[in-house]
C-alpha cells in the first residue's frame, strides 16, 4: 500500500538520485589519487536517521556504496555506547571492518543531517585510500598483516569535526601515521565536502516537501525495490541449491590449511525469500588478511550478485538501490569461518575472496536460472607500486581486470572488472607521466580461450617496467583454479604473475605477494585469467570460430583442438 501519491513519489525519487549523483560527481572530480578519480573506487549515499539506505550514486563502485548503511548503523551504535550524542556540525570518520566497513582503507565520512534539532538522516561518502598506515606502503597487497592492528589505523566513529569545530589532534595523528599524506588528506577533504553537499541538498528537499512526505516516499521506494526482488525470487522453484569454488589461499605456504580454501554457498529458496547459507566454507585464517568482514564485504557481495542476476539492469531497468532490495535475503555465516571472522583476525586483503564468493553465488544460481548467469568469472588482482622520490612516497594502485564467462547467447566479456567490482584502469599516458614506471604491454591473451557454444571472455596481459628502484605488493586470486565452465563449456584459464630480471632470468610469483623490492629495469608481467565457456563447444557457430581465428585470438591449430567437430 502506497504512503504517498505515485507522482510525488516519482518526483522525490528523481530528486534523491540526483543528490547522490552530485555527491559522487564532486568527490570524483575533486579527489587526488587515481584510485578514486580514475578507478572510481568510491561511494556516496544518503540514509535515513537509522542507517537505512535511501539512494546511492550510480557512478560509484558497488562495493563502496553498498556497505554505507552498515557504517552508519555501527557509528550510531558506538556513539550511543560512548554516551556521545550526534550533534549538528559533526563529521564522523569510520573505517572499522568489524563495524560495517568493507576493510580499513575504505574510510567513510558521515555527516548527520539535522532538521532543527531532529536527526533526519546521514549523508555519507566512502573511498579507498592510497595508504592507511599499514606495515608496508600502499593499502593493497598487505597480505602479511597478522591481525587487524597490523592493517593500519582504525577509526571507530571518530568525530573529525565536533559541532563544526575541527578536531586537529586526529588530523595530526593521521598525518604522522600514513604515507602519501598530501594525497590521502586531500581525498579525505574532498569526501567531507561531498558529504556536506549531500546533507545540504537533503535538507533543501525536506524543506520543500516536508519530512513526512520524504520519509513516506522513501519507504515506498524501499517497498518497491523489495517487491521487485520478491517477485523475482517467487518466480524461482523452491529448493536448495549448492555450489563450491576454491580460493588460492597462500600457495607458497607450508601449511596446507592455508592453501586451497573452499567457499561453499547453499541457496535455500522458499517462496519469495532466500537464505544464503555459507556453512561449509573454510575456517578463518587467523593471521592472514584474506578473511572477509560479514557486514561490508560478504553481505554486499551476495546482494550485488543476486540483483545482477535476478534484476539485471539491462533487462529490468534501473531499480533503486536501497535497503528494501536486501530485505528478502538472509545470510547465514558460521562464526569463525572465512566469511564471518572473529576480531582481530585480519581482513585487509578481502577484495578477491569476496569476488570469489560472488562467483560461487552465481554458480549456485546457474542451476536455477541458467539463462541469466555467466560461466565462471576470472577473478581480479590488485597491485600497489611504490617508491621514494625526493623523500616523499609515491604510491600507485592498479586493479588488474579479470573476464566473464560465456553467457546464454553471448560470449563472455573480455578483460573487464568482474561481479562486485567495477573500477577503471589508469591511462598509460597518465601512469608514465606521473610515476617512474613504463607500461610495455596491455593487450588480450592469445590462445587462452575457454571453448563453449558461447566462449569465455579473455584476460589481459600487462607489463610494468620499473624505471627506478622501487617496490610492489599484490593481492590476487585465480592462480590455482580455473574459472568453471558451464553446461559443457570448458574451464577457463588461470592467471599468472612473474618478475623479469635485468639479467634475463625470471621469477614466478604466487597470487599474494607482500612488499617486494625491485630494481630499476625489472619488469612485472601480469597475465589475467580467462572466464569459463558456456554450453557445448560443438554447438558454436563456425563463423564465430573463424572470426576469433582471423582476429588472432586463437590459432588455427588451437581452434582445431577446441572445436574438432567444426574442421
Amino acid at each position: 500500500m502506497s504512503r504517498i501519491d505515485p507522482v510525488t513519489g516519482a518526483v522525490i525519487q528523481g530528486a534523491l538520485e540526483s543528490i547522490a549523483l552530485e555527491m559522487g560527481h564532486k568527490l570524483m572530480r575533486m579527489s587526488y589519487s587515481s584510485i578514486i578519480r580514475e578507478s572510481e573506487d568510491f561511494g556516496a549515499a544518503l540514509t535515513d536517521a537509522n542507517g537505512l539506505q535511501m539512494c546511492e550514486c550510480k557512478m560509484s563502485t558497488p562495493l563502496q556504496s553498498g556497505p554505507i548503511p552498515g557504517y552508519v548503523k555501527n557509528v550510531i551504535k558506538v556513539l550511543a555506547e560512548r554516551g556521545d550524542p550526534v550533534r549538528p556540525g559533526d563529521v564522523i570518520m569510520h573505517n572499522d571492518p568489524y563495524g560495517g566497513a568493507s576493510h580499513g582503507p575504505d574510510v567513510a565520512f558521515c555527516v548527520p543531517v539535522f532538521l532543527d534539532k531532529l536527526l533526519i538522516g546521514w549523508s555519507v561518502t566512502t573511498a579507498h585510500h592510497l595508504d592507511i598506515g599499514a606495515l608496508s606502503p600502499g593499502s593493497c597487497g598487505i597480505v602479511d598483516a597478522v591481525d587487524t592492528y597490523a592493517e593500519g589505523l582504525q577509526f571507530k566513529a571518530i568525530k573529525v569535526f565536533d559541532e563544526g569545530k575541527r578536531n586537529d589532534a586526529v588530523w595530526h595523528i593521521l598525518r604522522a601515521n600514513i604515507r602519501a599524506t598530501e594525497l590521502v588528506v586531500g581525498d579525505m577533504e574532498a569526501q567531507i565536502e561531498a558529504a556536506k553537499i549531500g546533507s545540504r541538498r537533503l535538507l533543501e528537499l525536506v524543506k520543500k516537501y516536508s519530512l513526512e512526505k520524504i520519509v513516506n516516499a522513501f519507504h515506498d521506494l524501499m517497498d518497491y525495490s523489495e517487491r521487485m526482488m520478491r517477485d523475482a525470487i517467487r518466480a524461482l522453484p523452491d529448493g536448495e541449491y549448492c555450489a563450491t569454488t576454491k580460493i588460492d589461499g597462500y600457495l607458497d605456504d607450508s601449511d596446507p590449511a592455508r592453501r586451497e580454501l573452499p567457499i561453499k554457498v547453499t541457496l535455500k529458496i522458499n517462496g519469495d525469500s532466500i537464505i544464503v547459507d555459507l556453512s561449509g566454507t573454510a575456517r578463518q585464517v587467523d593471521d592472514k588478511p584474506i578473511n572477509m568482514p560479514l557486514a561490508g564485504t560478504v553481505d554486499c557481495s551476495i546482494w550485488l550478485t543476486i540483483r545482477s542476476i535476478l534484476l539485471d539492469s539491462v533487462i529490468y531497468g534501473s531499480i533503486p538501490q536501497n535497503s528494501g532490495l536486501t530485505r528478502p535475503i538472509e545470510i547465514m555465516a558460521p562464526e569463525g569461518c572465512l566469511v564471518n571472522p572473529i576480531f582481530p583476525a585480519p581482513v585487509i586483503a578481502r577484495f578477491c575472496p569476496g569476488n570469489q564468493l560472488a562467483d560461487t553465488v552465481m554458480k549456485a544460481f546457474a542451476q536455477i536460472v541458467p539463462d541469466k548467469v555467466s560461466a565462471g568469472i576470472g577473478n581480479l588482482r590488485v597491485v600497489a607500486l611504490s617508491g621514494l622520490r625526493e623523500g616523499n612516497h609515491w604510491v600507485h594502485m592498479e586493479i588488474m581486470e579479470g573476464s566473464y564467462g560465456g553467457r546464454s547467447g553471448l560470449d563472455g566479456m573480455d578483460a573487464v572488472d568482474t561481479l562486485y567490482a567495477n573500477t577503471r584502469n589508469n591511462p598509460i599516458e597518465d601512469i608514465e607521466t606521473h610515476i617512474p614506471v613504463r607500461v610495455d604491454r596491455y593487450e588480450l591473451r592469445e590462445d587462452a580461450m575457454a571453448a563453449g557454444q558461447w566462449r569465455g571472455g579473455i584476460g589481459a596481459i600487462r607489463e610494468f617496467t620499473f624505471l627506478d628502484d622501487a617496490g610492489f605488493s599484490l593481492e590476487g586470486e585465480g592462480h590455482a583454479f580455473e574459472p568453471w565452465g558451464f553446461d559443457g563449456g570448458q574451464s577457463g584459464h588461470k592467471a599468472h604473475l612473474k618478475l623479469l630480471h635485468t639479467d634475463g632470468t625470471s621469477t614466478s610469483l604466487p597470487s599474494k605477494v607482500p612488499y617486494f623490492r625491485v630494481k630499476a629495469g625489472e619488469t612485472l608481467v601480469s597475465t589475467g585469467p580467462s572466464g569459463g565457456g558456456y554450453g557445448n563447444p560443438e554447438l558454436r557457430k563456425k563463423a564465430a570460430i573463424d572470426r576469433d581465428i582471423a582476429d588472432g585470438l586463437i590459432s588455427l591449430k588451437t581452434a582445431k583442438k577446441l572445436f574438432p567437430n567444426q574442421f
Binding site: A10, H25, R29, S31, M228, S313, Y316, R407, V416, N422
Partner: protein, 692 residues
C-alpha cells in the same frame, strides 16, 4: 549579402534565409531524404530560392548542419576501418578502461567489444615508442613494417585507417611518418592520425575518437563532395560552411580532414539559436531548452556564450569522443515520451518514446501507449483541430482512452494521471537543469528560459516555475531555432596541446612558444581555407587541475605574452572557479596545467532582420475561450482559457494566463498566475512573477 541556414533533422530538413540588404527572411521545410540527405537539401534549397525569388548566384554563404557522421555511428554503418598502433597495445580500444557500462548486469553488451569500430584482425602493431614528458624517441618507428602492414590491410579491403601511437600528443613524428608511408601504398584510403584528430592524453579515448573519425570518414567525404557538386551544378556558388560540435562552423576541407568534428553538431546549432534569441531580448543569462519528440537538450548561456564541456563527458553510441563540444545536456524526455507503470508498479515517463511512428495515441496512427502529447491533449493544452497549423488533427478520445487505462492502473482520476505525466516529465527536466546550474554554483533564478522545439513552449513555463526561473522566452519560430542558429554561427578553429606543467615550476618559455606554435598552426589552417587572419579573433584557455586530480577545469587566459604575473592571475582564477564548481578550493595545493587551448573564432556578424511587424490586436487573435486543466495551490482545476493565434497578437499587450497560443510549429502554454507579452522583437516573454 544572402545567408542560408540548412538543418538536416531526423524527420525534416529546415531552411531559413536572411537577406542582409533588405532584412528579409523566410523559412521552409521538406522531408529529410534518408538515403542521401543531400537530395533533400538541394530540392528544398531550390524551392526556397524559387519561393523567395532569389538568384542562386546571389547566395553568399550556406550554413549547413548534417547528421551524416552521427547516423553512421548510431547505425553502426561505416567504413571497413584499420588501425596501426604500438607493439604491445593492439587491444587498447577493445579493453577500454576495463569498466562495464552497467554495474548490475550479467547480460550487458560492451559497445567497443560487441560493436568494434576496428576489428582486431585489422588492428596491426609496429615497433616504435615515444615517452613522456617530452615525447623522446625511445625506439624508432619500424618503417618497413608499416609498409608491409599497409599492403596487408589494403589487400584485406580496408579503406579507412587510423594511426594511433602512445604519446603522439607530445610528439606527432611517428604518426606523421606512418601516415606518409601508408599514403604511398593506399592512395585512395581515408587516413588519419590521433595527433591530428585530438592531440591530448588518455589513449583509449583518443584512439577511439580517431577510430570514430576513420569509421565515418569515407561516408562523410562522399556526402560533402556530393553536396558541393550538386550546389555548383545548380549555380549556387556561395561558401559552404558546416556546423561542428564546438558551436562554430568549419570549411568542408576541415570536415574532410576531421569528420569527427561534426559528430554532435545537431545539438550545437539549437543552443546558438536560443542564445541569439536571448540576446535579442537583451537577456544576458539564458537556459536554452529544446524539446523534440524524444529528447530535451539543455544549454546554459551566459553573455551570449555556452561553454565547452571538459573532455571527459562526451560520448556517442557509448563510445567516448574527445572533441571540442558545447556543454549540452541531453535527457530522454520529449513530447513522444511514453508514460507507464514498470514491473514494480512505479509511475515512469520516458526515456522510451513513441517517435513519429506510431507516435502518440492522439495521432491516430496506431499508437496505443499514453505519451506526453496525449496528456497535454487530455488537459486541454493542445488544440485538437489546429495541430501543425491545421495540417493534422488530434484524436482526443484516443488520448483519453490510453491515459485513462494508466489512471485505472494507478487508481487515480484521469486528469490526475494526465497532469501526473507532465509533472514527472517536468521534474526530470528540472533535475537535469539543476545539475547544470545549482550543482555548479549557478543560480537559475537569475536566468530566462528559452523554450524551443515543438514541445518546449508547452512545458517551458511549468519547468521554469519548478526552478523559480522568473521568465520564459518563446522564439518567433520555436521549431526552427536550429536552422536559425546555423545562420548566426561563426567560424571556429580549435587547437589543443597537452602540457603537464606544474605551478611550482612553470616554464614561461614553453608556455609562450607553445602558444606561438598553436597560433601559427591556426594561421596555416586559415590560409589553407583561403581565409585571412583578420576574419578571426583568438581566445586562449588552459585546462587546470590541482596536481593529482583527474579532472580539469577550463580557465580563460588573455592574449599576449605570458608572464609571471599573468600566471598568478591564472592560478587565482582557477581557485575561484574550483570554489564555484565544487564548493571548495585548495589554495595551498600546487596546480597542474594539463592542456593549453587556442580557439580562433570568426568576427561576429551583424544580423539585421526587418523589424517585427505586429499590427494585430487581442480580439482578432482570439480563436475561442474554452476549458483547460491546471494545478493551482495543490489542486487540479478547470480554467476558462483563452486560445489565441500567435501571429495575430499585438506587441506589448499583456495576456493573462491561463492562455494557449497557437502557431504552426509549436503551442505555447501560459499557465494561471502567469502573464505573456509579445516583445518588440516578436519573441514572447512569459512572466512567472506577479507584475509590480
Amino acid at each position: 549579402m544572402i545567408l542560408v541556414g540548412i538543418d538536416v533533422g531526423g524527420t525534416f530538413t529546415d531552411f531559413i534565409y536572411l537577406d542582409h540588404e533588405t532584412g528579409k527572411t523566410d523559412i521552409h521545410k521538406v522531408s529529410t531524404t534518408q538515403d542521401d540527405p543531400s537530395i533533400g537539401v538541394i530540392t528544398g534549397l531550390l524551392e526556397l530560392v524559387d519561393k523567395g525569388k532569389l538568384k542562386p548566384k546571389s547566395i553568399n554563404q550556406i550554413f549547413h548542419g548534417t547528421t551524416t557522421a552521427t547516423n553512421s555511428v548510431l547505425e553502426g554503418k561505416g567504413a571497413c576501418t584499420g588501425m596501426i598502433t604500438n607493439e604491445g597495445f593492439r587491444d587498447i580500444i577493445h579493453i577500454g578502461r576495463h569498466q562495464r557500462p552497467d554495474h548490475y548486469s550479467i547480460m550487458q553488451e560492451i559497445p567497443w567489444q560487441n560493436r568494434p569500430l576496428v576489428q582486431r584482425q585489422y588492428r596491426k602493431t609496429v615497433k616504435g615508442r615515444l615517452t613522456p614528458p617530452t615525447g623522446y624517441e625511445l625506439e624508432p618507428l619500424d618503417e618497413n613494417e608499416v609498409l608491409r602492414i599497409a599492403s596487408e590491410l589494403k589487400e584485406s579491403g580496408v579503406d579507412s585507417l587510423a594511426i594511433c601511437f602512445l604519446f603522439s600528443y607530445l610528439n606527432p613524428k611517428h604518426e606523421r611518418r606512418a601516415k606518409e608511408l601508408v599514403g604511398e601504398i593506399m592512395p585512395d584510403a581515408f587516413i588519419t592520425t590521433s595527433s591530428e584528430i585530438s592531440p591530448q592524453f588518455r589513449e583509449f579515448e583518443r584512439f577511439t575518437t580517431t577510430a570514430l573519425a576513420s569509421f565515418v570518414g569515407p561516408k562523410v567525404a562522399k556526402y560533402v563532395k556530393n553536396l558541393e557538386n550538386s550546389l555548383s551544378k545548380n549555380n549556387i556558388t556561395g561558401d559552404l560552411r558546416i556546423m561542428a560540435s564546438n558551436g562554430g562552423v568549419v570549411t568542408p576541407r576541415m570536415v574532410l580532414q576531421n569528420p569527427a568534428l561534426t559528430m554532435m553538431s545537431g545539438l550545437a546549432a539549437g543552443v546558438l539559436g536560443g542564445a541569439w534569441v536571448g540576446e535579442k531580448c537583451e537577456r544576458s543569462k539564458v537556459i536554452t531548452f529544446d524539446i523534440g519528440g524524444t529528447s530535451a537538450d539543455i544549454g546554459i548561456v551566459i553573455n551570449g556564450k555556452c561553454s565547452e564541456t571538459d573532455s571527459r563527458s562526451t560520448s556517442i553510441a557509448g563510445f567516448p569522443l574527445l572533441m571540442p563540444m558545447l556543454d549540452i545536456h541531453t535527457i530522454g524526455a520529449g513530447g513522444g515520451s511514453i508514460a507507464y507503470l514498470d514491473k514494480g508498479g512505479a509511475f515512469k515517463v520516458g526515456p522510451q518514446s513513441a517517435g513519429a511512428m506510431p507516435g502518440p495515441a492522439a495521432y491516430g496512427l496506431g499508437g496505443k501507449k499514453p505519451t506526453v502529447t496525449d496528456a497535454n491533449l487530455v488537459l486541454g493544452r493542445l488544440e485538437p483541430n489546429d495541430f501543425l497549423g491545421g495540417e493534422m488533427s488530434l484524436d482526443v478520445n484516443a488520448s483519453r482512452n490510453v491515459v485513462g487505462e494508466l489512471a485505472n492502473k494507478l487508481k487515480i482520476d484521469l486528469l490526475e494521471a494526465a497532469e501526473g505525466i507532465l509533472t514527472i516529465l517536468n521534474a526530470n527536466m528540472a533535475n537535469a537543469i539543476r545539475s547544470r546550474t545549482v550543482q555548479r554554483g549557478i543560480d537559475p533564478r537569475e536566468f530566462s528560459l528559452v523554450a524551443m522545439g515543438g514541445a518546449g513552449p508547452l512545458q517551458g513555463a511549468e519547468v521554469a516555475q519548478m526552478l523559480e526561473v522568473p521568465e520564459v522566452i518563446v522564439p518567433i519560430s520555436p521549431g526552427i531555432t536550429s536552422a536559425l542558429g546555423l545562420l548566426i554561427a561563426d567560424l571556429k578553429y580549435n587547437v589543443i596541446r597537452t602540457q603537464f606543467q606544474s605551478s611550482t615550476k612553470p616554464n614561461l618559455y614553453r608556455f609562450n612558444s607553445e602558444f606561438a606554435e598553436m597560433e601559427a598552426e591556426i594561421h596555416e589552417r586559415l590560409a589553407e581555407d583561403g581565409l585571412s587572419s583578420n576574419e578571426v579573433h583568438f581566445e586562449r584557455a588552459a585546462d587546470l587541475r590541482y596536481l593529482g586530480q583527474g579532472y580539469e577545469l577550463r580557465v580563460g587566459l588573455g592574449n599576449g605574452k605570458i608572464s609571471e604575473k599573468s600566471l598568478l592571475t591564472l592560478w587565482q582564477k582557477f581557485h575561484e572557479i574550483h570554489l564555484v564548481e565544487y564548493g571548495k578550493a585548495f589554495p595551498e595545493s600546487p596546480i597542474e596545467v594539463v592542456n593549453l587551448r587556442v580557439n580562433a573564432i570568426g568576427q561576429p556578424k551583424e544580423m539585421i532582420f526587418s523589424p517585427f511587424k505586429a499590427d494585430g490586436d487581442l480580439k482578432n487573435a482570439l480563436v475561442q475561450t474554452r476549458d483547460a486543466v491546471f494545478r493551482l495551490d495543490g489542486s487540479l482545476q478547470n480554467f476558462k482559457t483563452q486560445i489565441y493565434r500567435r501571429n495575430m497578437l499585438p506587441i506589448n499587450v499583456e495576456i493573462l494566463g491561463p492562455a494557449i497560443l497557437l502557431q504552426k510549429d509549436s503551442t505555447t502554454v501560459v499557465p494561471p498566475n502567469a502573464t505573456a507579452k509579445v516583445h518588440s522583437t516578436g519573441n514572447i516573454i512569459i512572466s512567472l512573477e506577479p507584475n509590480s
